[in-house]
């Protein structure tokens, strides 16, 4: 018997020793950790942020944005001209660019990309970003003419977004539904090697790449040979994996873990110069109780967004006072924003004035009906906490909030309905005009204009801003539209989120980029210490 015991113990010990080798990291391979995966890596068929993160590495746009997110810079187009009437854009393409399969990049790819996306039979997403396109033609191999039916002042800025990434149209035709799933041939600093959904995406260095944008420290080729984007669905595990060195970089670290990571000497917290993402509560004004602006203002004044910024985001977000950041292009500094502060006493007074009264400090009533509102939100940790905080704040002024939280895959369908009063979410944007085009046009009802804001004056001003051919005219129109929608109290802005990139000891310090919430951008500046 003793013999059996000894043998077993020996086996166990050797197994333990064999398995306790340190976690080996491959040199020249950076491991990026994130929570969720994209539905596919086709820039014309995905709206997912998770898709943008990888597509910016494997593909490029004609025009790109500098780190301030305001200054346009050449991308695949080395220069461009816009006609005086704002209808014709002529792009002069770089001649030194090639795809990952070594095929040279020419005007044919640009025309093919736009033709595929804008084809009415193609189930492409976000087509509105392209403006009202008359035609996209190749003048010669390196000149493209982009003609619009009407001027669109946002076009060049929209063109920096990942939906405008130039694809290999031949590959898209060949792969059909598997394009961006099985393969993706792009001109980016990295090449798409493989995708195992919900597990990882592997990118390898585009060896011939030399055409990085001027504002990047490294023009190419990339410093790291391989990038593995791993999915770690558990927030706590993700944070732990950065500390143990199993992952090198992540920008999906929950706010609560940041202070702990900050205290770890080998961990670096890097922040982009600019980045626009605002969390807000939207109000559906066509619901019976929310037609009254006083009620909407009361709800807005009752919610303490500073408390949310401190307690839920641990200071990694700023309390928001407007629907989009003050730093965003075409923000109107003269807007009246009193309705978005925190003043529960004024909120109570407004509800009294609107006829909603509470006799015993309970839920307010009017005509025998309680002030009870339905709130839709997401199931994520911080979203849940925000919903609870808002529910608590509103309870203090006598409003009963029925919170219903849904999984991200379900919530979009629920938000298309007319069955809720309030909803909460966050959104990324480029500028005030971008935000207004998306949310406040009557043509975007019932979604994403879930507030049902149907105002001809707003429509007309946004349209004027889009058609403007000078920066001054554009600002004037968007500024006025901004003042109108803020005055109507359609949202309660909560916080402007700050993007934080957490990098481990192997990563050399670098400057993240705030574009579309994809701070590693094209990956050129990502460098591993030897």
């Amino acid at each position: 018997m003793g013999m059996i015991g000894k043998r077993a113990a020996g086996c166990m010990l050797s197994l333990a020793l064999a398995t306790t080798a340190a976690v080996a990291q491959e040199p020249d391979t950076a491991v990026v950790l994130r929570i969720s995966d994209a539905d596919r890596y086709d820039p014309q068929r995905s709206t997912a942020l998770a898709a943008a993160e990888i597509l910016y590495m494997v593909g490029e746009t004609l025009v790109t944005l500098d780190r301030d997110l305001k200054t346009l810079r050449p991308g695949l187009a080395e220069r461009w001209e816009v006609s005086a009437d704002g209808l014709t854009y002529t792009f002069h393409l770089r001649r030194d660019v090639s795809f990952c399969d070594a095929k040279p990049f020419t005007a044919k790819a640009v025309v093919g990309t736009m033709d595929r996306w804008l084809n009415p039979d193609f189930p492409g997403v976000s087509k509105w970003k392209a403006g009202k396109v008359e035609s996209v033609k190749a003048i010669d191999d390196y000149t493209v003419e982009y003609k619009l039916k009407e001027p669109y002042s946002e076009l060049l800025y929209q063109m920096t977004q990942f939906n405008f990434i130039i694809i290999d149209p031949d590959q898209a035709t060949e792969l059909k539904d598997d394009f961006g799933v099985a393969a993706f041939n792009g001109t980016g600093a990295f090449c798409f090697q493989s995708w195992t959904p919900r597990t990882q995406t592997v990118l390898t260095r585009h060896e011939g790449y030399r055409w990085g944008p001027s504002f990047m420290t490294n023009p190419g080729p990339a410093e790291v040979a391989k990038i593995v984007w791993k999915i770690v669905p558990e927030e706590a595990t993700l944070a732990a994996a950065l500390q143990t060195g199993e992952g090198d970089v992540s920008f999906a670290v929950p706010a609560w873990a940041l202070s702990q990571l900050q205290a770890t000497p080998s961990i670096q917290l890097l922040r982009p110069e600019a980045g626009f993402r605002t969390h807000y509560v939207g109000m559906k004004i066509t619901r019976p109780d929310l037609g009254d602006k006083r009620v909407r203002e009361a709800l807005s004044l009752a919610i303490d967004q500073s408390a949310i910024a401190d307690a839920i985001f641990f200071g990694e977000a700023d309390a928001a006072k407007s629907y989009y950041s003050e730093a965003a292009r075409d923000f109107n500094p003269k807007m009246k924003l009193d309705a978005f502060g925190y003043d529960p006493e004024k909120a109570k007074a407004l509800l009294d004035e609107a006829g909603w009264v509470s006799k015993d400090g309970g839920v307010r009533m009017k005509d025998g009906k309680p002030l009870s509102l339905i709130f839709y939100g997401f199931t994520g940790d911080s979203d849940k906490q925000m919903a609870e905080t808002i529910q608590g704040d509103l309870r203090k002024i006598g409003v009963d909030l029925k919170v219903e939280l849904y999984d991200p895959t379900i919530v979009w369908g629920k938000l298309k309905t007319q069955d809720f009063d309030l909803y909460q979410m966050s959104y990324p944007y480029l500028s005030a005009g971008d935000a207004m085009n998306l949310y406040f046009l009557s043509s975007n009802m019932p979604t994403p204009n879930r507030m049902n804001w149907n105002d001809p004056k707003t429509d007309q001003l946004i349209d004027a801003g889009n058609r403007a051919t000078s920066a001054e005219a554009r600002f004037a129109a968007f500024a006025e539209a901004g003042a109108i929608i803020h005055d109507a109290v359609l949202w309660k802005p909560l916080v402007n989120e700050k993007l934080v990139v957490v990098a481990g000891p192997r990563v050399a310090p670098f400057k993240p980029h705030g574009i579309s919430g994809a701070p590693l951008y094209n990956g050129l500046d990502l460098k591993l210490a030897k």
């Binding site: 018997m1 398995t19 080798a21 539905d39 997403v125 195992t196 143990t244 199993e246 895959t409």
Partner: protein, 315 residues
């Protein structure tokens, strides 16, 4: 014996049909619509209607189930809503790591459980026996996710002896072994308790039998008496138990795979349910259910083989 097995095989068919129906209905009652998910945040009502027609979601539920059955019988499990990949090939890819994890758990947990149970039986009533009993009770009562999280916190995070997440390669490579260690430990711990307890009871029972007394009288060493005579007889109920426990191992695998990011069927099932990827979730449920049915079938067959008395009764 053959007739018994054939009968078992036939009775598996309604079970399988039931599983398919329950899996199908479960996904019907979830308050969401696959067409809305495919259409995405910017999909219009017309687009959603169109997708619903394409997917056959406008047909009555029983018709939908019938079409689903026909497709499953042809081996077509549909395509993932999320990445358009064929469900069947994704399932095949994920099945390997799950089997690997189960093998890695059984390979250490079964021998250790039998060893502990045997030693406890031989030291009946002594401190060691009580310790093994306590361990068995703990092993049965402690949930796998708790053990998994503790291992994650200490072995992987604090002491950094093992990786936190993922699969490092095939089992026979050092990296593969390194990665499988914690999930296999978690899963194996569920197993040790019942195996040790059953072995102990069976060995205690057998040690009192006449043929053991005869073996001792013949002058066989205690080691030989236990390993050659007692254990062989005592193992029959243990094998049955192991077979039955493999079913719960499949359930445990869902938890261990999720905690340790192991790319198997369990994680695929959880991931596809969370992301409302209906065809994939249905496929996972089908594979897990088939796993149960196959394991039960094999156990029945083995049971007959191991115990001649059962074989002769059936015949």
């Amino acid at each position: 014996m053959t007739r018994q097995l054939l009968w078992r095989l036939l009775t598996s068919i309604p079970v399988l049909l039931g599983v398919l129906l329950v899996g199908f209905l479960m996904l019907q009652v979830i308050p969401t619509d696959p067409a809305t998910i495919i259409a995405g945040p910017s999909g219009t009502a017309a687009e959603i209607e169109d997708i619903r027609r394409q997917l056959g979601l406008d047909a009555p539920i029983m018709m939908q189930f019938w079409f689903y059955l026909l497709r499953v019988m042809q081996g077509d499990l549909g395509r993932s809503i999320i990445n358009n990949a064929p469900v069947a090939s994704e399932l095949v890819t994920a099945l390997g790591p799950t089997i690997e994890l189960m093998v890695a758990s059984l390979i250490w947990a079964v021998p250790l459980g039998i060893l502990l149970g045997t030693l406890a039986a031989m030291r009946r009533g002594q401190v060691f026996d009580r310790a093994v009993t306590a361990l068995s009770v703990a092993g049965v009562s402690v949930p796998a996710f708790w053990v998994g999280l503790l291992l994650l916190q200490f072995a992987a995070f604090r002491w950094q002896l093992f990786p936190l997440q993922g699969r490092g390669g095939p089992l026979w490579t050092l990296n593969g072994l390194h990665h499988v260690a914690l999930p296999a430990l978690t899963l194996g711990l569920i197993f040790i308790g019942p195996v040790a307890r059953m072995t102990r009871t069976a060995v205690v029972e057998v040690l009192g039998a006449d043929f053991i007394r005869t073996a001792r009288a013949k002058g066989a060493s205690e080691f030989r008496v236990v390993t050659r005579h007692a254990l062989r007889t005592a193992l029959i109920p243990v094998v049955t138990l192991i077979g039955l426990q493999i079913g719960s191992l499949l359930g445990g695998a869902v938890i261990a795979e999720t905690i340790f990011g192991w790319p198997g069927i369990g994680r695929l099932a959880v991931g596809s349910i969370v992301s409302s990827d209906f065809p994939m979730a249905q496929g996972c449920i089908l594979v897990l259910a088939c796993g149960f049915i196959v394991v039960n079938f094999v156990v029945d067959a083995l049971y007959g083989l191991l115990d001649p008395r059962i074989r002769s009764k059936v015949r």
